[in-house]
Amino acid sequence: MADAVLRVRDLHAGYGDFRVLQGVSMEVAAGEVVALLGANGVGKTTLNRALSGLLRPSQGAITFCGRPIAGIDHAAIVRAGLVHVPEGRRIFPNLSVRDNLLLGCYVRGGATRAQSLARVLESFPRLAARLRQAAGSLSGGEQQMLAIGRGLMARPVLLILDEPSLGLSPKLVEEMFALILRLRAEGLSILLVEQNVVQSLAVAARAYVMEHGRIVMQGAADVLAGDARLRAAYLGL
């Protein structure tokens, strides 16, 4: 893949002596939605933390837009356009919705801020109605929208969405996937980590399956969706 936005080669990372990632290699192309599947505890979140600079990898290479970023400062990674919307949202509960969004473009400064804010609020009209409210007082679904909206404020090239549909009602899950389709149509590259296998494969072009800190399967989403092994392991079919 010549035009890969993100390229990960033989990545190892962990916490102290506990090695979680044991040689992960993967790619995301420009404008591509890639699903990262796997059970709890296989290292998906650890991979995301290593990609976004929250965790320093012990070995391996990460290239983002042609630049090596493994182990560099998390702020520089955000500035380069790799934005991670984490599991658990991690919004600022004590700040207003507006302040949460404005901090989304902390590394970009004020020049494009008003424009970014208008664009994000257009995508999330429910946030627009609650701009002055404390973010901690929002519902779970609204908090998830805010977390994504805050991520979009940084004008990302690649957005990592970690379990965006977790804990949402079926209707909101549907809205979430509709949003991912919209972002895909706008040309954003997305790495989507999900428990919701069927819907993830429906919006993704390709997918990786992780087990025990390694990629064990990869391929086109529609092929994987029909794969007997995957269906048995994750869909109980």
């Binding site: 600079g53 991690r90 004590n94 302040d99 404005l102 989304g104 902390y106 805050r150």
Partner: protein, 288 residues
């Protein structure tokens, strides 16, 4: 007695304004770093000696020295966090607490060595001047201090509410990992918060100097009041520190008026206990 009541209340408010400024610094550091800054009193004392040196040796009026000393104390606080408290603590709250205690011991004893235990004071033209306002005679020095303290509190509030750096400091206070994900460096914000909290002391020192003696022990009395205000107002709360400061100033004066010099000082602790009995999180504290 009622003729004395109004002046006592107004006098209490005036002193309370400066108490509030000292408490604001303490509550900011608590709110962001989640530690009680044991070095607060020592740093206030150091700032007061700084203001005294500028006044006594260079003839610089404390009010003119205020911007200078505020900036200098910001630098001192920032550097203390950046080079001492931060590296020593390695992110552990308990270790930060002990590091601030260590800093306090060093400053306190350094001051004793340099200045001995004597009290010092300066003369300003406005120290004893009075301003007639209707039936009230207002001490000019305290009036100036009150107005400056409230202006600085407003400025600090605006900074925290309206600037990116202020938002980032508030964000780090509650959600450091979320802050990292938008590109904020938490350790920088901690150092800034500690610097700003210390800068409040630089300003407070200049406002206090015309009306108070300076000695190496002077910090203790103020910091005890500031701790009371911060807990009374709600730990980490800005409005709590402001209202608490004014309330403590007034209570102190009324206690002195009605109960006299020796029994009067029990009123602030009594108020403190009463508030905590009725509202354990303090006046403006969020329920946890």
């Amino acid at each position: 007695m009622t003729a004395l009541l109004l002046p006592a209340i107004v006098g209490g408010l005036l002193t309370g304004g400066v108490y509030a400024l000292v408490a604001l610094g303490l509550t900011l550091i608590y709110g962001v770093l989640h530690i009680v800054n044991f070095a607060h009193g020592a740093l206030l004392m150091a700032a007061m000696f700084g203001a005294w040196l500028l006044a006594a040796k260079l003839g610089l009026d404390p009010l003119l020295a205020l911007p200078l000393l505020t900036a200098a104390m910001f630098a001192v606080g920032w550097a203390l966090y950046r080079f001492v408290i931060g590296p020593v603590s390695r992110g552990q709250d308990r270790a930060i607490l002990l590091a601030t205690l260590g800093v306090a011991v060093v400053i306190d004893n350094g001051a004793l060595m340099l200045f001995t235990g004597d009290s010092r004071t300066i003369e300003t033209p406005y120290a004893l001047a009075m301003l007639q306002a209707g039936p009230l005679l207002l001490p000019e020095a305290k009036l100036i201090a009150f107005v400056c303290a409230l202006l600085l509190a407003a400025l600090l509030w605006a900074f925290m509410a309206l600037t990116d750096t202020g938002r980032a400091i508030r964000a780090v206070a509650r959600e450091p990992e979320g802050a990292m994900l938008v590109g904020i460096r938490p350790q920088r914000m901690f150092a800034l918060a500690y610097g700003i909290g210390t800068a409040c002391l630089g300003a407070a020192a200049c406002l206090l100097l015309p009306s108070f003696y300076v000695s190496p022990q002077v910090g203790e009395s103020f910091v005890l009041i500031a701790f009371t205000i911060v807990v009374l107002g709600g730990m980490g709360s800005f409005p709590g520190a402001l209202v608490g400061g004014l309330l403590v100033g007034v209570t102190e004066n009324l206690g002195g008026l009605y109960l006299g010099e020796s029994l009067g000082p029990i009123c602030v602790p009594l108020l403190f206990i009463a508030v905590l009995l009725l509202r354990p999180t303090g006046l403006f504290g969020a329920a946890r």
